[in-house]
Amino acid sequence: MNTIRNYLDNMFLGLPDTEEVIRAKKELLTMMEDKYNELKDSGKAENEAIGIVISEFGNLDELAETLGIKHALENKSDILQVTYEEAENYIEDKVKTAPKTALGVLLLIMSPVLLLLLLGLKELTNVNAKEDLFIAAGLAVLIAMVAIAVSYFIRFSSKLEKYDYLQETVFELDYKTEQMIRGIMAQNEHSYKSAVSISVAGYILSALPVILTPLIFDIDGLSVISVAVTLTIVAVLTYNLISKSAVNAACTVLLQQGEYSVKSKSNKTLQTVTKVYWLVITAIYLAYSFITFNWAISWIIWPVAGVIFAAIQAIAEQRS
């Protein structure tokens, strides 16, 4: 029954809320429900009943004149239509590139790990090797990992570039396509939810090494190494989360939910702010880390920036 209601909502999407239109929708729904109930009573399966009701619904164009929505219907067809194939390709490409994007993120998060380990070991062993050597080796690896990650991002973002419009413009799906996407999303829901809960629990636990090591040992070197451990845990969790949430992320974009809702898309300011915000955060992170060499602490900017971003988004949504 919800399917029928969704179908009708979809057909009426974007039409003016005049009394006439509302009455038409209500009465059409009643007729469809009556038909559905009788088909069900006559022993038809749910899906079959829904299929018959929808195939016999007709076309809203027939009502254009009587409802005074001719203009609205014409405008409606100006809205970009995303086809079944496009939607399918998008999900497929997203799923294909997800492990690589995830690997890029993993490299990025782990890039300071070796540097931290070397610095920690140096403190612990008190070897008289030149500190510069440790730093140079660690830095070289750090820069190499960042470079690989960035080249990954560039490669995959250019591959997915053709789908950018899905995230930026308002579009419409036909009924069949929307059902297909909802189906995929539902099928994937379990694996997505468990990945999210594992990650959230993991993120919380990942803070333990950083918090506990100084309390227990009070050795500088170990504290630095504990940061490396935490970063590694975070990196693995993030890798898992990104690769497991690809399907869900693609479906969210296609169904225009959350930050891709029609409402958010029409909020251009938020879009610009988002882009600028993350660039500024990245600049601050790099500048601070390289100037002070406080890699053991500077990563804190990421979780903090994430929470602040959520707050900005909430405020922006309320304003619009």
């Binding site: 038409a24 038909k35 016999e56 007709g58 076309n59 809203l60």
Partner: protein
């Protein structure tokens, strides 16, 4: 399957016929059309609703809200005097139409 072009001019007639004896509502009308025509014609919901609206504007039917046994509120339609007149005219028109078209229908192929 029949062409909806031909039928379009007589949808109002079909609905008026079904309303001659008693008021009825959307689904019941569509169901009776289906049954009477042995499922040769299945009226689409949008076609039916636009016919209701058109006929209301023309004054051939009137709508009122009522509830059925299940207590679900429904819009009922009843035929007006003008609707009865119009129905009679359409019946006459069909007789002539039928006669005219008949002249052009070949029944036996040589």
């Amino acid at each position: 399957m029949i062409s909806s072009d031909v039928i379009r001019g007589y949808i109002d007639t079909m609905i008026l016929y079904l309303l001659l004896n008693e008021p009825s509502y959307g689904y019941e009308i569509s169901k009776r059309i289906r049954e009477l025509t042995d499922e040769k014609y299945i009226i689409k919901e949008t076609t039916l609703y636009s016919a209701f609206k058109r006929m209301e504007i023309n004054g051939h039917i009137e709508s009122f809200s009522g509830s059925e046994t299940y207590g679900k509120p429904r819009t009922y339609y009843k035929i007006t005097e003008a609707g009865k007149m119009y129905y009679k005219e359409k019946c006459k028109e069909w007789e002539i139409t039928k006669e005219v078209i008949e002249k052009f229908i070949l029944r036996e192929w040589k």
